[in-house]
């Protein structure tokens, strides 16, 4: 095993300069935790955030005598992912043991797929901000199990260094994973950071559409290992890569790639050579630091898992799964954009805000696409931002939004009241119609009420009346304002205007 190189400070090269002189090549490994009911190789529940070491069986603890059995649902999910990524599904594949020692690994080997993955040779189209499409080629997608989770206690940083002891929670041990490995991604033309983030976002959206995972980045359901290498030009052989482990937000992925390109360029400029190693990304600085060296000498002593019989997914089964695949995000976006008549820019905002599902459900509940979009991308987006939550976490359903818009469309309430009602719905006071009724918020268009208010306003504002009668019709607003105030905003403004005009004889 190599020793860690002494880390001398490296001059980072400005990103734009780096990409003007070097050709970056990306390689991305994405792990997704599958949302199966039970674990990859045993019947322990696959749940998040349970009490430590409660979601376990002898097998997920690796107790002596325990044996794995493959979770058929996980295989189905892996095939679903493979098909969605345009991969070939292996007719025969098997598991292997990847051996290394670590306390979070119950058997001190990880049961994974090595030379015979379940899916291989596919591709996925990734759409960038400006609508440009980059095709990313997939080398393989294989199944494996997650490890447990170590917590290091007693140190200042929570890291292993300086800790007095460590605690291990094996609830995650054996959770099914699919790892998707790209072929080298060249020719990103200066947009490598964006391509990397957009690729992972594309996969995340596909996982959700396939219903194989909640795919929550912040929970670690989706984790990306980002490989970056530089070469002098597109014809040169691939440079030495670094692998930044477990990057789990789109922004961090972008920053990782950006930083590594600048760092590699700095190393190469200084006449050094990039070390093949794993690195860690630091949210606070936006930089990466060296982990352990990952030289070719690392030896996992892979061999076929003798406790599991090989898998041979029948072609009928694969075709059944293919036939049942849902509409995938790219196709769905194209369809919805057409159906909704949104511009590219509007559509991209909707996608970026993860509001597609919410808007579609709102439309399905009987609202126009533009109205649904306005609610979710306008008032509700503001509230979510204020509360620092995701749109889908707001205490309001698409059906309630549709109901609210329905009241507006039926002129039961106006836009201003609608916002008040929205606030009350978000406070959990009930459905819009009920709120409007119980609070008496419906628009007042009863002439007997409105006429009295108009008479009062005319009496109170002789100068405004004079202006209007003198031809300055736009001054009518100065009369409407107090009327709205007097009716707590509930007056039907159009009707009020008509009554004023009638009374003043201006038409």
């Amino acid at each position: 095993m190599n020793t860690v190189q002494p880390t001398s400070p490296i001059e980072l090269v400005d990103y734009d300069e780096a990409i003007s002189r070097f050709d970056p090549v990306l390689g991305i490994e994405v792990h997704v935790e599958l949302g199966t009911a039970t674990k990859m190789f045993d019947g322990a529940p696959n749940i998040f955030a349970a009490e430590p070491n409660t979601a376990i069986t002898p097998t997920s603890l690796g107790l002596p005598g325990s044996l794995p059995v493959v979770n058929a649902k996980a295989v189905e999910y892996a095939i679903r992912i493979g098909l969605a990524l345009n991969c070939s599904i292996a007719e025969n594949c098997r598991f292997a043991r990847k051996q290394y020692f670590y306390p979070d690994l119950t058997k001190n080997f990880q049961t994974s797929q090595y030379d015979e993955p379940i899916a291989h040779d596919g591709w996925v189209d990734v759409e960038l901000e400006d609508g440009e499409i980059v095709r990313v080629e997939i080398e393989r997608a294989h199944m494996e199990e997650d490890a447990g989770k170590n917590t290091h206690v007693g140190g200042a940083t929570g890291r292993i260094h300086g800790a007095t002891h460590s605690q291990v929670d094996y609830n995650r041990a054996g959770v099914p994973l699919v790892e998707i490995v790209t072929k080298p991604i060249p020719d990103t033309e200066g947009r490598a950071p964006e391509v990397a983030a957009a690729y992972v976002r594309t996969l995340r959206d596909i996982f959700r559409a396939l219903d194989v995972s909640e795919a929550r980045m912040e929970r670690g359901n989706v984790r990306a290992d980002i490989n970056v290498s530089l070469r002098e030009n597109a014809d040169a052989p691939l440079g030495t890569r670094s692998e930044t482990k477990n990057v789990n937000s789109f922004r961090s992925i972008d920053r990782t790639v950006r930083y590594e390109i600048s760092r590699h360029a700095g190393v190469l400029d200084a006449g050094g050579s990039v070390v093949q190693e794993t690195r860690h990304f630091h949210e606070d600085t936006g930089g990466t630091s060296s982990g352990r060296p990952k030289s070719d000498a690392e030896d996992y002593r892979y061999f076929p898992e003798p406790d599991l019989v090989p898998l041979a997914p029948s072609r009928e089964w694969v075709e059944q799964i293919r036939a049942a695949l849902p509409e995938l995000p790219a196709a769905r976006r194209r369809r919805l954009k057409g159906e909704w008549g949104l511009t590219d820019l509007e559509m991209r905002d909707v996608v970026n805000a993860d509001a597609l599902d919410l808007i579609e459900s709102t439309v399905d509940a009987g609202t126009s696409a533009q109205s649904a979009r306005k609610w979710w991308m306008g008032e509700l987006a503001r509230v979510a931002k204020d509360r620092e939550v995701e749109l889908e976490e707001l205490e309001i359903t698409p059906a309630q939004v549709a109901e609210l818009q329905g009241l507006v469309d039926a002129k039961k309430i106006n836009d201003k009241i609608a916002k008040q009602v929205l606030t009350k719905v978000l406070e959990g006071q009930g459905n819009p119609t009920a709120i409007v009724e119980s609070e008496g918020l419906a628009v007042v268009s009863d002439d007997s009420v409105l006429t009295g208010a108009v008479d009062q306003a005319i009496a109170d504002n002789p100068d405004v009346v004079a202006k209007i009668q003198g031809g300055k019709v736009q001054a009518v607003g100065a009369l409407i304002g107090p009327i709205m105030k007097a009716t707590r905003g509930q007056a039907d403004a159009g009707r009020v205007r008509e009554i004023i005009m009638d009374k003043l004889g201006v038409n």
């Binding site: 002596p64 005598g65 020692f101 058997k107 080997f109 061999f303």
Partner: protein, 508 residues
Amino acid sequence: MSASTRTSDIIRHSAATQAAALEAGEVSSEELTRAHFGRIAAVDGELNAFLHLNQDEALTTARDVDARRAAGEELHGLAGVPIAVKDVVVTEGQPTTAGSKILQGWIPPYDATLVRALRKAGLPILGKTNMDEFAMGSSTESSAYGPTRNPWDRDRIPGGSGGGSAAAVGSYEAPLAIGTDTGGSIRQPGAVTGTVGVKPTYGSVSRYGLIAMASSLDQAGPVTRTVEDSALLHELIAGHDPHDSTSLPDPVADLTAAARSQDVKGLRIGVIEELEGEGFAPEVRARFTESLDQLERAGAEIVRVTCPNFTYALGAYYLIMPSEASSNLAKFDGMRFGLRVIPEDHPTAENVMKATRGAGFGDEVKRRILLGTYALSAGYYDAYYGSAQKVRTLVQRDFAAAFEQVDVLASPTSPTVAFRLGEKIDDPTAMYMNDIATIPANLAGTPGISVPSGLAEDGLPAGIQFLAPARADARLYRVGGALEALLEDSWGGPLLAKAPELTNGAQR
């Protein structure tokens, strides 16, 4: 058995006879179980066959069976007959050590599938039997808890790794025992203790709850005093287990009927040329030949067959087995169960693992972990593990070709009678040679049986092995049962009756 038979005698009968006595109400399971514990108390000090006794629980099971029988409940044929279980099989609430210090004091929180079957059928589990550490050995000398001694001669080994199970059955401590056979660990101890041992078809008895040595080779099976008893126990523990991916879906055949059929007319028996020559003791070969003569006289046809790749089987086995073992034993690291040794300085996770494994594993285990780690290493994988797997395929082809000509194959089970304690402990290669005849069946996944063939050198028992194609275990019982009857006729009773009485176990 006559009604006048005394309880102290009943333990010397077969499990089937004991079961019949229970059924007839001549003895209760509690009496029978107590009688076995009495025998263990009298002789196990000399033998060290048991690592752990389970008296309270066994008697509870026995009383429960007695009560159910009294209530007229229909019970399993072996209900109430005690059994001993090799300590590599996990038993909920009872210690399981696999003969290793690294698991000293470990109480498993679950039962192996086969143990569940035993409990469900109402067999009182007497205790856990001694074995070579992690089933690595051919003599039971590498147990961390001291060697087991051969009931025929206490200066001799009882075979291995299942020497404890074989000695317990051979010395009337238990009528039935469970063994595991990775390279012959049921059959070879059977041969050198004068008992019957069966390695079933790979996958026919669940491995769930067997502490793995080499997953693709391990197989649990019966150790008994008669072929019929093995058939009864085999039928009880076999069957599909959804917890074991390699478990076969097949229904269990009627093995007991095969054992009782006593009919070998027209049966073609192949004598494996490669397994009777150099290295096989003359008297062991003589008993083998006499056994074949008996079978031929009873109507079997004896055919010579050649299995040329069996010559390489031992070499392939000693690459595949340690490779898998090195991986299977990686979990013994002091983190989750068993021994944990914390070094004084730098008690990092890695150093705790090192210290625990250093203190917890014996020499033979360390030797095999090192061999296996080396054989799987990058750059050596193809030359060692890869080549060994190719030999494995060739051995399977040899079997397939041979079974086109014959119904079963035969060879001496072990090249020699039991050797003396300490004789081969410092010569691993000589030790490994003991399994030369048994290993091919493990590489091929095919079943095998060892039955006593008579007394050879020094008046010690020898065994004959029969092998059948995968899933054709019934053939083994047919030929084994027939031979046993023929030989017992010529001996005037079971071979075990010729064993010298143990010094302190005077009550005969």
